[in-house]
């Protein structure tokens, strides 16, 4: 039973952190190049513009859900299962979601990079 709970937590971590990453990436693209904005209008303008983007707050909330799911997942499953399983699957989920929602062109180079890192993370935990 605990194993089912652990996998449910892993699924929630992947869903929440992918949602968070997509929302934050979308918000920051709306804000524009932070370095240039900082030079032009100062730090407060950067913070103000990020906070006034509604998807930014939603993204941070989704990241919070992912963080607490990880804590609960760790209390139900082993560290060596929960962390690599959620981290490596999040890489792949992010690549798929970025292609669908952010319309990023995930070319062969980026697929190979995501799969190499995801596979490497699994091997690191063995």
């Amino acid at each position: 039973m605990r194993e089912i709970y652990a996998w449910a937590a892993i699924a929630l971590i992947i869903l929440a952190s992918t949602t968070g990453d997509i929302l934050l990436a979308y918000s920051m693209k709306r804000v524009g190049d932070v370095g240039e904005l900082w030079k032009r209008s100062g730090m407060l303008a950067v913070i103000g513009r990020a906070l006034s983007t509604p998807t930014f707050a939603l993204g941070v909330m989704a990241m919070g859900v992912a963080f607490y799911s990880l804590l609960f997942g760790l209390s139900w499953g082993n560290l060596s299962l929960v962390v690599p399983a959620s981290a490596s699957l999040t890489f792949v989920a992010n690549a798929i979601a970025a292609r669908i929602f952010l319309h990023e062109r995930v070319g062969r180079r980026r697929w190979i990079a995501a799969l190499l890192v995801a596979g490497g993370v699994v091997l690191m935990a063995v």
Binding site: D21, D33, F91, I112
Partner: protein
Amino acid sequence: MTFRKYLVLAGITIFSTAGDSLLARGMKDTGGISLHHLSGLLLVILNPWVVLGILCLLTFFSCYMSALSWADLTYVLPATSLGYVLVAFIGRIGFHEVISPTRWVGIMMIAAGVGFAAAGPTVTPSRHQSVSKEPSPQAISQEISS
């Protein structure tokens, strides 16, 4: 890619690893937190390791947001994954942990993945014009050829 942008990517890698390690060190001092004693969570913030860890994670978050403002998510995530390798080396050097052959293969796969992503273009053209800055024609041709 300018030198400043490489520094931001390095900041993401280093500060997320340092933040996680410092938090883990601090949580060892405070022991387990049960759902029945949630007040323990408030006391955790007084631990100096946890304070340092939170500061590092805040720096990581600023660098991460900065990178996402000028690069694709599918570029930033793999390009900043060296943290996993960094943790293994900290364990090897700092705590004399043994790195098994399987872990070495994992380290090499992550390093190769990071190299693959980082050598590619940072931004790809979007079908919708939501990206504030257009990518250079050179980046587009590089992506098409990859």
